[in-house]
Symmetry: C3
Subunit: 402 residues, 3 copies
């Protein structure tokens, strides 16, 4: 990216209205205005451009980014650490296993105790329906009160690193990848993206990606085709968000129970396994009751149910149904990774090895946007005037590697 | 805090004699002179003031703070990380589970091997009577020798993050909270603080807080009333410290077996559970012998002993006995957190929920001083002329968030 | 080290040809030219000199050093963290237990996913013959491709923190210790080093140290005497490297089955336990097959085999056989630590307590070079003109502690 392009992006940014993001949190994309979404995408691109130009974007001389992962994580963990590092924050992970939280301490107390010098808190909590997002809001509310009460000297910004409702850092990275692949946001109108379920031999994958995708992509005038077998419905309130978005943006939101129908003529396909919403609700209840036998029975039942839909796989044949007139001769294949690849990571899975391999580099690039998206969310929350700050770095910043 | 106040604190600091703290460790408050204690409190306040003014106090361009926690820890871990971050040090935790230390390596060797670039070592080791503080001194002695022998290029400073004898970073934070709450150290003379045992349904809490409190607070002309059921004595040598302190400072140190007596007219109350010293000694012996059955028997016995004193709880009725003429209409309630709150974190505990709730914000502020206290201890150990360094930052420092 | 000496080292460095190290990895010392080895040693000494002079060598304003330890580690972990910190990189550890790697993700994918902002990747993987080094190369190749494909904005450098073949950061630190102890690389010609097996009551120690030592030390005109009991052979290809090195350098490489013969007249002794190569191969196979019973049987067998050679111990008597005319009145005793010390960390082990104790400080110094060696490897890989960069810091750098 040359400096002129970065300058252009900064100019674009300076015209957007994102003042409500300052000193605020990022929970769900559908709570943000179009300008705010555009600002995150712009800042992410600018930060990437500055880094490519070996210009430091260390805006914090000290400060902590606190992370809490309630599920195993490699890429989100590294993305969060990378984003913090890019801006100058040091990450301290709250490892609940090593803490005293088991003592029965309240969320409010823990949230404040870890935040005395926290500028940002990133949380991943996606396992239980109705819990993850609620927990994040409780933490954010607690530290906001702590800040107002003078306990904390700064207000820690909460960044949702995946919850039961949305996965905004993933879907925004996906969006930026699409925009840059298709040559600009104005090129997307009328394009079709198929967000489809796919078979996986594993159990209980979160719904946050399909929900996040239909909740975000419908804002850009795209046709978003959600497809899944019967019984794999996503949360109705997010479908409602998608429907309204499509209306406003002049796009479309369709639903079907046919992978083929969704792939038909698609410019982008995003086939990915998830657990049925109803089953996730049931699981949340069983965990709450500590019903181990019930959980095991549910797991068996779900795996059996999954296995009835092994034909939901992104095969070569299905790819032939997609739009063959794109720059790649077929739809852009996307995945949040890691994927269940047939014959590679499992016997039968979400995608044929040849399809995955052909799109591998593009998918790695897709993933590479995530640290910048996270950093952009932070920057917009911590600075009143990010466009000026970024322009300063471009014009007279010091090198990252000196 | 305005700049004038910070300037005043720096002036006050520059008049104190703390030269022996340079290139030294912080084990126990009662090994430090009054001027040294005053210097820690002053530097902590100054660091907080500078941070509030968005002035960077990053004094290290690189360097490590090594931490070793031999017990689960959230707030002390985050406080240590925050303190290091504030000064520019990166924390590397020595996780004994992931190390080769089990091979039978000596303390001297491990201490040197982790310290090649360590400016500070923070240790929490509070579980066994006669062990924690001794271990810290062995580590400090080892790295001092390593430094003198030319193995290490700098002398790592040891900071006691809680041992079997004292919990200096906690009690100094408590002290700063009291001073700032009552409007200055000169307002404390004649005030009464009740350091009392309280019932908890848990087992084996360290004695370091009550010991640290009576060992420190008696230096400020306060009346320190220690109260606990029979059999819950603290270490006699620390009581002796408290008695002598009180004599010198013109304060008082009293002991009783009545919570009510201690609370009577108190300006500050600090009700907190701890294990009897004799039981802790016995436990240390049983662990040494690997006597698992003996340990379990001791635990049952202790919980039963605790349960005989469920009336040792900070109830509304007891709070009515305290000094009603303070700014809050009763005594300042303090706790090192997390507390056992009746009906919240346990059925019956150290404090009634209403009492805890009323003082919650104040307690969070109490806790918020700890990172600054730890950073102050480090700064005084690493710089010959901290007052000048701090003045520089106030007058022409660069911003923390730029 | 005075500034004049540092200046001299920089001048020496600027005359060496190390341009192939730029944007390259460090797998094995025997893949590097003599000039490249000399450059690492020089940069390590310079970095140490600058740090002693309180001059910052923070060359990175932001950036990550990713570490992966597939075996418990204290000193290598701290050395890597120290090296990264010295240059300004933040370490993020890839804890395979907390990641999603178990899902069956490929090496290529993981390598890219953790490297979006990684300037360096350090790996320790020494447990299985034929695996560790191969894994490192796979990772390095993956991120090189990621860089070329535009997935990564920088090429992460791989540093071998110990593999099945070599332990270059250890042996280079050992080498620098020898050079500085004997007063210069030119003083080593004709000196004898005994790299011998020694008895240990433990099982399965890697071969990387003896192999690394004979592969490196034979380049300096030293006589390298490898000795071990029958059945404890190291890998034949590394012996071949040693033989060729000795030929080229005018040194010697000898083999025997007698510790006494190796110690005879030696200026340096390095007695250390390792597992027989053949047994390690067998173990690798058993692990591959998941044959737990086979592994336990092999372990018993190996411990029994070890126990037949308890006389392979660095005793006072054996030390008397070494060159008594050195500055210390006997050979310089070396160990990579931790050692199995008779009567200290085990009943019978690699070395007598008195011998170990007499050389303890020297061994700690030996270890203290490792962070600088690692940092030197990084610097030479990340900068085209390290001599200029280092000269800048010497002449007008800012202090590390300000």
């Amino acid at each position: 990216m040359d400096k002129l392009k970065i300058k252009g992006l900064i100019k674009h940014l300076s015209r957007l209205n994102y003042r409500n993001m300052y000193e605020n949190d990022f929970f769900l994309t559908w709570e943000k205005t179009d300008d705010e979404i555009a600002a995150v995408l712009a800042v992410a691109d600018i930060l990437r451009g500055l880094r490519e130009a070996n210009l430091s974007t260390r805006f914090f001389d000290s400060g902590l980014g606190v992370s809490l992962f309630r599920d195993n994580s490699t890429r989100t963990r590294f993305s969060f650490v990378s984003a913090c590092n890019l801006l100058g924050l040091t990450v301290q992970d709250l490892d609940e296993g090593k803490s005293q939280i088991a003592h029965g301490e309240t969320v409010r107390e823990t949230a404040n105790m870890i935040s005395f010098m926290a500028d940002v808190i990133g949380i991943r909590d996606d396992m239980y329906i109705g819990k993850g997002n609620a927990y994040m809001r409780a933490v954010a509310q607690s530290v906001l009160e702590g800040y107002r009460d003078g306990v904390l000297e700064q207000r820690p910004t909460l960044v949702n690193l995946q919850c039961d409702l949305d996965h905004p850092t993933q879907t925004m990275a996906d969006m930026l990848h699409i925009i840059n692949t298709f040559g600009g946001v104005d090129k997307l109108r009328g394009k079709k993206i198929a967000m489809t379920w796919a078979y996986s031999p594993s159990y209980g994958k979160p719904l946050s990606v399909p929900q996040g995708i239909i909740g975000l992509m419908t804002r850009f005038g795209l046709e978003v085709a959600l497809a899944h077998p019967e019984g794999y419905e996503v949360m109705p309130e997010v479908e409602e968000v998608a429907r309204k978005n499509a209306e406003v943006s002049g796009g479309r939101f369709t639903k079907s129970n046919s992978m083929e129908e969704a792939f038909q003529g698609a410019d982008i396909v995003y086939p990915k396994s998830w657990a049925p919403f109803a089953a996730m609700e049931k699981r949340t209840k069983l965990y709450g009751e500590g019903d181990e036998a019930g959980i095991r029975a549910l797991e068996r039942e779900l795996l059996k149910q999954n296995a009835e839909h092994k034909d939901w796989q992104a095969t070569e044949n299905l790819m032939l149904k997609t739009n063959r007139k794109t720059a790649f001769g077929e739809a852009l294949y996307m995945h949040c990774l890691p994927a269940d690849i047939t014959g590679v990571s499992c016997q039968e899975g979400e995608v044929a090895a040849a399809v995955f391999d052909r799109h591998r580099v593009a998918m790695y690039k897709e993933a590479s946007y995530k640290p910048y998206i996270i950093a952009a969310m932070m920057l917009l929350a911590k600075f009143r005037n990010p466009a000026d700050k970024l322009a300063e770095r471009l014009d007279c910043g010091r090198p990252r590697v000196r």
